[in-house]
Amino acid sequence: MFEINLFIEPFFQTLYMVFVSGFFATVFGLPLGILLFITQSQHILPKPHLYRGLSLLVSGLRSIPFIILMIAIIPFTRLIVGTSIGTTASIVPLTLCAIPFLGKVIQTTLQEIPFGLIEASQSMGASTQQIILKILIPESLPGIIHAITLTLINLVAYSAMAGAIGGGGLGDLAIRYGYQRFDTNVMFFTVVILIVLVQVIQYLGEQCAKRLKR
């Protein structure tokens, strides 16, 4: 029927794209979400101009379709990884697309912390940094895990488009065999792998969040 080997490399390419860009998205998206949360007016570090600027940037980036973003930032990608094609190159647009998404979801998650808790810690003399590290992050950790899980799942979907710039991965495989060579078997099997991958990410994320929930 077909070579199982056909799937091995694309599968690891997908994992590589999803998790590396997921990692960088968390590194930048988590602080972004926190910054969005605390700089709101009437909050612990009110900075209306910064807040408005960040919100605009976030909603702006989120409204650009991924395929267009990917092409539009080619010069930037080249600047960072030295090339604009290939799996590693696709990590740049994937990360850039995931950061505002994760930032927004984390801001929403933090919004669920009762404001009384933040006030209580202020009344104890906590600094802004202490409030972030000792209250905001621990209190919303299950939500943060959930947000990262959601981002990873989104990245699986977007990584399929990365084939367009030679990113490789399962999505690329499905398009090449299924769409261009009408090999529905390969396409079908790819879809099954993608579904399983998403389910596994979801399951692990949920377990992690559940364990942290008090």
Binding site: A120, S123, M124, G125, A126, E139
Partner: protein, 343 residues
């Protein structure tokens, strides 16, 4: 300890300006338990939140230990807050931390080592009776237990002032009495100054040394608790106390009652007995010596923090002269007589 001078605060909302506090003046002495009572929306929470600057007033001064905290830098303010505990109506415990770690939080903020933390909070866990709950998480606790954790947490950084915003309002009567007893204990043991905000007269009765009545952002009255109950200066305070203590005269009586005397009128008295005067048989003396006919239609005993207050509502029949003498006698014995009207 805490001095508020001409404190004012106005909130601007879309619906317009709301004056939450108007020229508040208060002086709270070291070691006392001071209550602020008022109805919902009176500005109580705003007032207490000004004391640790969770809310910044528009005008006025806040002196704590004679220092104007409005002029503090943010690091000085943090330091000040480290030495002020606060207890909230809805406890505000961290759901991600167990009881022990919740109590430890203020000390963690001060970068204490875990041994120091242990040494400091173990006696507090004992004081608040939480020994077998240290590993529990807040959602596994009852309201009363949660508030005990909050009290222990407020005490952890060895504060000299504790602020309570409706600390017992979310609890049932028994639990709230236990929390009040705990606060009394703390005050007695360590001389911590406590400012309590409440709409429950019960809290004032059981806990406070002095009390202020707040209404629409203004202090109407500020007195010792006994004086507050026995001789309120304003009509509003009188009304409030009467309703809150269920001390209204029965309708049957008020319908017939006149404000001023008339021929052959029978006065209606409210007699307050304090301390020892409650122990002498005043009523029987009135009957035997002054030949008065006393009809008691309601009575009540209030157990204040340091004093017992007896309240008796009576009608007095007799000659005008004897009534006068009887009243003079009561006053001489330390009781307080108030003429409510005539029937």
């Amino acid at each position: 300890m805490i001095q508020l001078k001409n404190l004012s605060k106005t909130f601007s909302t879309r619906a317009g300006k709301i004056t939450a506090l108007q020229k508040i003046n208060l002086h709270i002495h070291p070691g006392e338990i001071f209550g602020v009572i008022g109805q919902s929306g009176a500005g109580k929470s705003t007032l207490i939140r000004c004391v640790n600057l969770l809310e910044r007033p528009d005008e006025g001064e806040i002196l704590i230990k004679n220092k104007n905290i409005l002029k503090f830098s943010s690091s000085e303010l943090c330091k000040l807050r480290h030495h002020m505990g606060m207890i909230f109506q809805h406890f505000n415990l961290l759901s991600s931390r167990n009881v022990y770690d919740n109590i430890a939080l203020p000390l963690e903020l001060l970068n204490y080592s875990s041994q120091e933390i242990k040494k400091t909070i173990e006696p507090l866990i004992e004081l608040t009776g939480l020994e077998n709950k240290t590993q529990a998480f807040p959602r596994q606790l009852s309201g009363g237990q949660k508030q005990r954790v909050a009290v222990a947490r407020a005490l952890a950084s060895n504060p000299d002032i504790i602020l309570c915003d409706e600390a017992t309002s979310a609890l049932d009567i028994q639990t709230s009495h236990a929390i009040l007893a705990l606060l009394r204990d703390i005050n007695k043991k360590w001389g911590i100054t406590i400012l309590v905000i409440t709409h429950q007269m019960d809290v004032v009765k059981n806990l406070c040394d002095r009390v202020a009545l707040l209404s629409h952002g203004e202090i109407l009255e500020c007195a010792s608790v006994v004086d507050f109950f026995t001789r309120p200066k304003t009509e509003k305070a009188k009304k409030l106390i009467e309703t809150l203590l269920h001390r209204e005269l029965p309708d049957k009586l008020t319908q017939r009652m006149q404000a001023s005397s008339f021929a052959s009128a029978t006065p209606v008295w409210r007699i307050f007995f304090k301390g020892q005067s409650a122990e002498t048989p005043l009523i029987s003396v009135l009957i035997q010596t002054f030949h008065l006919e006393i009809n008691i239609f309601q009575g009540n005993i209030e157990n204040l923090k340091d004093e017992t207050l007896g309240i008796l509502d009576v009608t007095v029949k007799g000659t005008e002269e004897n009534i006068k003498k009887g009243m003079a006698y009561l006053r001489e014995k330390g009781a307080q007589v108030e003429v409510m009207g005539y029937v």
